[in-house]
Symmetry: C2
Subunit: 101 residues, 2 copies
Amino acid sequence: MLGYMNAEAYEQTVKTGDVTFFSRSRQKLWTKGETSGHKLRVREVQVDCDQDALLIQAELTGPGCCHMGYKSCFFRKVTAAGEEVIMEREFDPAAVYGVGE
Amino acid sequence: MLGYMNAEAYEQTVKTGDVTFFSRSRQKLWTKGETSGHKLRVREVQVDCDQDALLIQAELTGPGCCHMGYKSCFFRKVTAAGEEVIMEREFDPAAVYGVGE
């Protein structure tokens, strides 16, 4: 998954070991898994050459990372014919997040 | 590597098969490898759940992707003690990009 971190989100991620983002739309911190329980436990943090992006290797404490029920948010490939789902659904989003999410 | 694409960059990527970004600082398209020759040839494009990020699986036509001479831009891990380089340098940036880059 791809998410935005500010300094506070990064500090909380390091302190707790649970990947935490900053929601720019809601203007608040959110820890991945705070609703679903599917947390991302940090294994290693890598930083890129110009130091504006992090690649976090993490252990997922649940069946899927994506709020749509898949292991990864990148569960579709794009082809000339359109989009194609390339993963199996791991859980039912309505059961985990409630109907309407 | 992580880079920004606008619609035109994406269209050029699909048309040519060479990963192309849009530089927001220089306000122009740039094809990865246009200086170094180390291009990224698209194998597969995956799109995320909310459709604002792409994960591109690509073949690198050179020794390293990063302008600092490493296979990946994420060549350092972050530890409590600071940053630690976790990859070998694959090429000399000065020889590829010229001195001063």
